[in-house]
């Protein structure tokens, strides 16, 4: 049984200290991620040793787990940046950007279409970070400021995380809570209407403040209705793994149709952006071929027959069970941070290799493009990688020494009847620390459901609130923020992007919490 340090205000504050140091150094002192991450790691190690009873062996294992998880994340970032650099060197990104801009001349509609709907399509297919890696640089080429492109993509795609990557987060929470999918899915979809709507408004607000929110309201409401209903329908028919992809695709269509209505055509001319200078003769389909290939190989990797062939080629490390000096038990891990065929990195690299063949066959390949792309990838990714490693190591030290558990326990105990309000924030905390919705569910779903049982409220609603929080929290996960800033060319600009995204992330969680509370205590009191 997990025990750990006794929960008091003092121990809770000490457990929160590494996160406080991380946030304050990035947001207030405007430090870059490597520096902020390093200081936070030192803080986490010190608190874990002196307060939480971590010994040298536990810390070595926690740091090693941190590096395993970093490897998982970094492989995605490096290969996504490499694929992007290849497309950029050929001139494909400019072509894609120019063509996307032609769907509508209205800048607000372009922003919503790309960061709220199209990024969710990418999230529906591929996993961690790919939506940001693909969409944010295209938005920069379309003429959006880099910080706006990164921030809107981060918050815009976040509603699609739980049902995205072919339902990874959804299946994880189902496994942990043992609530059957047919009971849980439709309710989760109903609660997900809140982030669908609010992330749409958040994107509009980041883009152009309240005037953009006002102007974008009809499009956001109509598109949210389409996406929310389809998400629920997919769960009702037992196709939860498509409950992000299909709604997002329909959302793109709805958004394009709305852009053609009189509401959004009038303002277009004055707001149209200049077109980037694209290479002659390179058509949209050829330019987009790396991403077509990425979509195809991602779908192919989900086919059971194919994944079975590649199943032996799986990498992961085993970790033993261990206890802190304060009796907090860390479970043994088998194949921790598993990397296999459905991991985005092999898919991205496969897409890069096949794109090379396609561009070469079409006579568009430039000699030395691969070497040039690799060199740029290396110089772009090294500082980002150091930032990610330090932050993930800090997170794992917190998790394994029981600090994270104590934080969640404190939030649950302090809120009492208001627990549904805190529930999405706990989910966000997990996603913030690990950069993954599924990992947040692994960390906190059981705690959330147990607390719901003690309070006598619906476990289905609380588990759904956890799912929403874990989905949205990824938007402020340092690893994802760094991925965004690297790809839009804002190395060291993490604070700017984080400042833009954080308030919306907290706002979406609060709205979800209020709805979850009203469901649990007023509207659906009898629900399981």
């Amino acid at each position: 049984m997990d025990k750990g340090v006794v929960l008091t205000l003092g121990t809770w504050l000490l457990a929160f200290l590494p996160i406080l140091v991380l946030l304050s150094t990035i947001l207030l002192f405007r430090w870059g991620a490597p520096k902020a991450g390093a200081v936070s790691w030192f803080t986490a190690v010190a608190v874990s040793v002196f307060v939480f009873g971590a010994d040298a062996r536990l810390l070595a294992l926690a740091n090693s787990k941190g590096l395993s998880l970093s490897l998982y994340v970094l492989l995605i970032i490096w290969s996504a940046v490499f694929l992007y650099n290849i497309a950029e060197t050929i001139g494909a990104i400019k072509v894609i950007g120019n063509n996307m801009a032609k769907v509508t001349d209205d800048r607000l509609m372009q922003c919503l279409l790309m960061s709220w709907c199209f990024s969710a399509v990418m999230q529906g297919i591929a996993g961690f970070g790919v939506p940001i890696a693909v969409v944010a640089p295209i938005m920069v080429v379309m003429g959006f400021p880099p910080a706006v492109a990164a921030a809107t993509c981060l918050i815009g795609h976040s509603w699609a995380v739980t049902f995205g990557s072919m339902g990874t987060g959804y299946y994880t929470i189902q496994l942990i809570t043992k609530i059957p999918g047919e009971v849980f899915g439709p309710w989760m979809a109903i609660l997900f209407v809140v982030p669908i709507v609010t992330t749409g408004f958040a994107v509009a607000h980041i883009y152009g403040g309240f005037s953009a929110v006002k102007r974008g309201t009809p499009a956001i409401i109509v598109t949210s209705a389409v996406m929310g209903f389809t998400c629920w329908l997919m769960n009702m028919i037992g196709a939860a793994q498509l409950a992000s992809l299909i709604p997002a695709l329909l959302g793109c269509g709805t958004m394009a149709l709305m852009a053609r209505t009189g509401l959004y055509r009038g303002a277009a001319a004055s707001q149209a952006a200049g077109q980037a200078e694209a290479p002659q003769g390179l058509g949209f389909n050829l330019a987009f071929s790396p991403y077509y290939i990425l979509i195809l190989v991602s779908i192919a990797s989900q086919i059971k027959g194919i994944s079975r062939i590649f199943a032996p080629y799986t990498f992961g490390m085993d970790y033993p069970a261990i206890k802190t000096g304060m009796n907090f038990a860390v479970k043994a891990e088998k194949m921790y941070s598993r990397i296999n065929i459905s991991h985005p990195a092999p898919l991205l690299l496969m897409a890069a290799i096949l794109s090379f063949l396609v561009f070469r066959a079409a006579g568009r390949w430039q000699k030395g493009a691969a070497v040039k792309s690799f060199k740029s990838t290396f110089s772009q990714c090294i500082p980002t990688s150091v930032g990610i490693i330090t932050m993930v190591m800090m997170a794992l030290v917190m998790v394994d020494s029981g600090m994270t558990f104590l934080l969640a326990q404190g939030m649950a105990k302090a809120t009492g009847k208001l627990f549904p309000l805190a529930s999405p924030f706990i989910g966000e905390l997990g996603a913030f620390l690990t950069g993954s919705g599924a990992s947040s569910n692994v960390m906190f779903a059981a705690l959330q459901v147990e607390t719901a049982k003690v309070l006598g409220i619906s476990t289905v609603i609380i588990a759904s609130a956890q799912a929403v929080g874990s989905s949205i929290g990824g938007a402020i996960a340092p690893a994802k923020v760094l991925l965004g800033t690297t790809l839009v060319g804002l190395d060291g600009g993490e604070n700017e992007v984080m400042n833009k995204v954080l308030p919306y992330c907290l706002g979406v969680a609060l709205c979800t919490g209020i709805v979850a509370w009203s469901f649990a205590y007023i509207l659906f009191r009898g629900l399981q």
Partner: protein, 70 residues
């Protein structure tokens, strides 16, 4: 005073931490990966020498970003 001279401030010497940022980041990056097998094997086999080596490397790797500018 020379006629037409501008009052624009000449850029001072580039700080050491900024000039060599990329090199320092490279060192830090590879130091983390050098520490990885020591931390893993030390933790799994409970070998103090490996664990200590991993800590020295981790601490050095984390100190490097602190001397860089940004």
């Amino acid at each position: 005073m020379v006629t037409g001279a501008t009052t624009t401030k000449l850029p001072g010497p580039v700080p050491w931490g900024k000039k060599h940022r990329m090199l320092l980041m490279n060192i830090s990056f590879w130091m983390f990966w050098a520490a990885f097998p020591f931390a893993y094997l030390g933790g799994v086999r409970n070998q103090a020498a490996y664990i200590d080596t991993s800590f020295v490397l981790f601490v050095l790797a984390c100190l490097v970003p602190l001397v860089t500018k940004k």
